[in-house]
Symmetry: C2
């Protein structure tokens, strides 16, 4: 199976005879994971670090226009330099301490979003406090709007003249694994900042701090249109509030096998192409374990009663903010009858033999908007590509994840 | 080890010889999971269902005052009936369709929060559409405020006269497992609703719908103080927005073992009692797999470099909204030196022998505010109680989770 599987980040190779690898084998790294960057998250509030990292000659910028990434081809992110983006973000966007930035908050000013993504420690050059080394990566939102309409428009013209473009479409599944992981981090953070301009606790506008990883509700706002600069108290200012930090929604996605281990349950949504099926999935709810969420979702969507559930692997999915938690679940004897009447989410759910799934993984996979390969025969089962964790889960089941030897 | 371990919910017992149980054994169910309720989430928008469930004679209410649950003793939730709460929530809080409730939205009215928790299918009585049966459970916020100050105050007086009380303190770890799971669901949802009265996308007040599981941003507000009832467009109204649904923050927590499998790394925070240590933990960030988050957090907090990471089990943790994802990670050879200088979160982190941890699990565990048992000797390692997933992870390591046989 040709997998755009990212290698584990360095240093991440256990000793060959270590107990964990002995029992569990190599870790499954799904598409969008496997970033080469060290996020050094504790340096994000440090304006000296950010200011020096921003202007280092090795520093690399990925640009987004309305959440569409700049690419040089469908399989390559394009990168930019500080001089490219200076007209948008200014000479010194991290020139003041966070404390001062909060003090001088003015909600009428548009500040293009910058996200510090991390240091690529494989590249030499930039060094901070002797300890933190590597090529700094940032993401910048260059959407032409508000005070940067002209400068961003001009920048975009120039990029287009160089043959670069902002990739249309929602999904970006053709990037090499490590670029995909960098793109995923940037997209998730830019989307979160754009989606949350107001404080859910008090309703006032918020300010991005921590290089894009936090939104704070300033106690004062000196915008001329505001009647009084002092704002009412806000609960997010007393102690640590999760509302200030990026949201990630845990989602369960599961390969369901029959009680005898011979069949796999797949479902389809109405909007999908004909013959296309996938594993069931849904959001984990408050106060559920992963296993409980898997059993609830499978029952609600298909009527199947599951017994044992085992977590297989996880996948970041930045559309907009999911953590996909992949699992394998087994139906209990007598609990295998499909019933679509509880929740109306699926158009169909049915049991397939392992042979059907194995054949479809060989000849019937593609992206949702694409055609399957030349060996696919009309009417055969179609499945998602290897970049989707659904594909990995089905593959794991037909290749014996659960039994230690191929189960079917 | 005396564990308040909830049984798996019915129907959840795989066949004895099923492939999953053969390989993986019994699932670990942590405290706060294992709810006996079927949430029938697809019935939450159905006002006919909610109206009839609310007033059924078997229906049970758990009450909260400022997020503190009503209890009859530290180890028992107290429950109430519809006639108890009628003065707070009114005769027919689900009497109108959701569509009408949204149309008639008036932000000046205080609506006490009601959450539909699920059906206890073990109890007969209530039946809906022939298919959905069981005792309905609801949570109600009876905090005396706004228009219910008097009625809630009176209700609370009456409850106190019966010897009931609202449990002070943040953690509730003495409830029987299934009550703890019901409490966790209720607390997480009430907290989320209370914490998010405004729309993060447009800043306007939002309205609770779906029996407490969704907050919507109505297009009109007929409150007399509002200048124009029609509100500006809001992005959460076009398509499905994650902002409308409860937030759950994925958190990683991990037992770290040395490269030779002989020692366990534990850390402590300054505010903890003397000699008290626990596993490291932290929030998963955008676009990280669970394994990546574990490696990043461990390196940032302790300087240790991890290789292989294996997910052990998960735990809902409703303070306020966490999904704890428990893992075991192994240090790489040469990556075991403790360095606390990256992130300043821990006061100390150090390696303990398995024997020290095993002994502390036997004699040195307790809640944070409690004393350890009589066999504890001053100066010995202290650890969290069995209700914490940290305890389960340490126990799993010294009992051989990773190797199949006790590893140390």
């Amino acid at each position: 199976m040709p997998l755009p599987q990212p290698p584990l980040p360095e240093p991440a190779h256990p000793t060959v005879d270590s107990m964990l690898s002995r029992r569990f084998g190599k870790e499954v790294a799904n598409y969008f994971s496997g970033s080469p960057l060290n996020r050094v998250s504790f340096l994000r509030p440090d304006s000296t670090f950010l200011s020096t990292a921003l202007v280092h000659p090795s520093t690399t910028f990925v640009l987004f226009n309305n959440l569409e990434p700049l690419i040089s081809s469908p399989s390559a992110l394009a990168t930019a330099t500080f001089s490219d983006v200076k007209s948008i973000i200014g000479d010194s966007p991290f020139g003041k301490s966070e404390e001062d930035v909060i003090k001088e908050y003015n909600s009428s000013l548009y500040i293009p979003q910058i996200v510090f993504l991390g240091l690529d420690e494989r590249k030499e050059g930039f060094v901070y406090k002797d300890h933190y080394k590597g090529q700094p990566w940032f993401a910048v939102d260059v959407t032409p709007k508000s005070s940067v309409t002209d400068s961003a428009g001009k920048l975009i013209e120039g990029l287009k003249a160089k043959g670069l473009e902002f990739s249309k479409g929602r999904m970006h599944l053709s990037l090499p694994a490590q670029e995909a992981a960098i793109y995923a981090e940037a997209r998730h953070l830019l989307d979160w900042n754009a989606r949350n301009p107001f404080c859910a606790s008090c309703g006032y506008p918020t300010l991005s701090v921590n290089a894009g990883f936090k939104r704070t509700c300033p106690p004062r706002d000196i915008a001329p249109s505001v009647q009084s600069p002092d704002r009412p108290p806000c609960a997010t200012r007393t102690g640590i509030s999760n509302l200030c930090f990026p949201r990630t929604d845990p989602t369960v996605i599961m390969a369901v096998v029959s009680a005898d281990g011979q069949r796999i349950l797949l479902g389809r949504q109405k909007r999908w192409p004909q013959y296309w099926y996938s594993t069931l999935a849904g959001f984990l709810e408050p106060a559920e374990s992963v296993e409980e969420a898997v059993r609830r979702e499978v029952w609600e969507e298909s009527g199947i009663h599951l017994g044992r559930v085992v977590i297989h692997s996880t996948q970041p999915w930045p559309y907009p903010a999911n953590l996909m938690i992949g699992a394998v679940g087994q139906a209990i004897p007598g609990g295998e009858e499909v019933h679509l009447g509880h929740d109306a989410e699926l158009e169909d759910a049915k049991w397939f033999t392992a042979e059907e799934v194995r054949e479809a993984l060989r000849v019937g996979t593609s992206g949702l908007g694409e055609e399957p390969g030349p060996d696919y025969r009309q009417g055969g089962l179609r499945l998602p590509p290897a970049t989707a964790i659904a594909h990995q889960l089905m593959s794991a089941v037909v290749n014996g994840f659960a039994s230690g030897t191929p189960m079917i």
